[in-house]
Symmetry: C2
Subunit: 261 residues, 2 copies
């Protein structure tokens, strides 16, 4: 029987709020069994870019990453945020190991080619996940904490979408583990109306998702997450959940989250 | 019989020069057997601090690390420099794993208390090296690349001198390995006269060091390195070498370096 592995993705808005981040980390720490944390940090990278008077360029929610911006995202994601998260977890006796996709060649990407004439710069799309290495860290009793920086094997760092990393790591690890992929963010889950807590949708299958989308009841920000989720399920991930950041340890205690099936 | 382990410290001036850094990394990659790389990066941290208009404060060569500066050194050492070095080594098929002292609780420090009324801020002095964890990474065939950031176990990051880290890691690992500690920098070794290449001192024992110091023939920058070196030897390190950055793989090919015995 495959061992259960929780892969938790935490988003930039929670990371950017030190109180919420602390609440999330307490909840993540309390999640029992094997686990991996994958974090973003886009809001913080934008803040630091502005402090450095860089031109912040986003196209359809994707960051254009020029020579200066790849340095900034590497510093912020793999340096500041990753090490602060690891230090906080270590202070709670959670034996965290901060990593990026470069370390131990965990995630090899290809640099994104021009798309419709747009040059995204140093942005990577994952090609390969080194599941053997990730497993070996887990086998040592460590909790990998993965920053969204990868490489292309020729010495260059690549800015890589953290949701995509969560997805490809979950899919790859599903060959060996019973993977539960958890997207933690600020709402209790997928809501019909974000103003109404009782509008939480507990279960979504693909037919229901299509129906909700056609009625305009799924927010723009949620669509790529749900598309990713259905893709992960199709590729062997056991369960995908969308849950509030301070509830990731309460998956088995009721239905205060959205389960994608 | 203990296995041989090379621990190489590379200094900030080499790291700050992309051509020299590349030459160093090619030489490090070619060094055979088990190895660990420990890097500094002070010059780069100062550059980024200035870009951010921070007040750079050094007292007797030691950086005063306030709330803003600890963020900068964490970003520069554990983020930018560490990941660039790891990406460069990975591109040369050297299976590098970037780490800081926080990751897997590798190095626990204590925050430096006031010294003569001076508050150095978020600066750490190492208390404990997690040799079992470092060994487990080496046993996996990985090459640890260690940035000089540690923690105090309560969630705070600490700026820690990279020479000191090299020293304490070498001393701690000497219990299990035959440790060769290599300080790589811009000169061929300890020179009587830095203008004269033939003034390289091939071997220094403690008596000779005392004599050279009393004659003023050891530069101020070299004194802490040599003091550290003699201390490491007294605590079980097999050999300490001071060598040019592009020669670390040629230790066995002659005497173009300084051996401290």
């Amino acid at each position: 029987m495959k061992k259960k592995l929780h892969i938790v993705k935490i988003g930039g808005n929670v990371i950017n709020d030190s109180i919420k981040l602390k609440q999330f980390l307490m909840s993540f720490k309390a999640l029992e069994g094997l686990k991996i944390l994958i974090h973003g940090g886009g809001a913080k990278a934008t803040q630091w870019g502005k402090k450095l008077s860089l031109n912040i360029q986003m196209i359809e929610g994707r960051r254009v990453t020029d020579d200066q911006m790849i340095d900034v995202v590497t510093m912020v994601y793999a340096g500041l945020l990753n090490k602060k998260i690891v230090a906080a977890l270590q202070s709670e006796n959670c034996d965290a190991l901060g990593l990026s996709g470069v370390d131990a060649n965990l995630i090899l990407s290809e640099k994104r080619s021009l798309q419709g004439g747009i040059d995204y710069g140093w942005v990577g799309d994952p090609l390969f996940v080194n599941t053997a290495r990730i497993s070996s860290f887990i086998d040592l009793g460590l909790v990998p904490v993965l920053a969204p920086i990868t490489h292309e094997g020729q010495g260059n760092l690549l800015n890589t979408n953290a949701d995509t990393i969560a997805n490809v790591v979950a899919t790859a690890m599903a060959k060996k583990y019973e993977v539960h992929l958890i997207y933690a963010f600020e709402l209790p889950g997928v809501m019909k109306d974000v103003q109404k807590p009782d509008s939480l949708i507990h279960r979504i299958d693909h037919a229901y998702y299509t129906e909700l989308k056609s009625k305009g009841l799924v927010s723009q920000g949620m669509i790529p997450k749900l598309d990713n989720a259905f893709q992960a399920l199709a590729q062997g991930v056991r369960q995908v959940c969308i849950i509030r950041f301070d509830k990731v340890n309460s998956l088995t205690q009721g239905h205060e989250y959205t389960s994608i099936i």
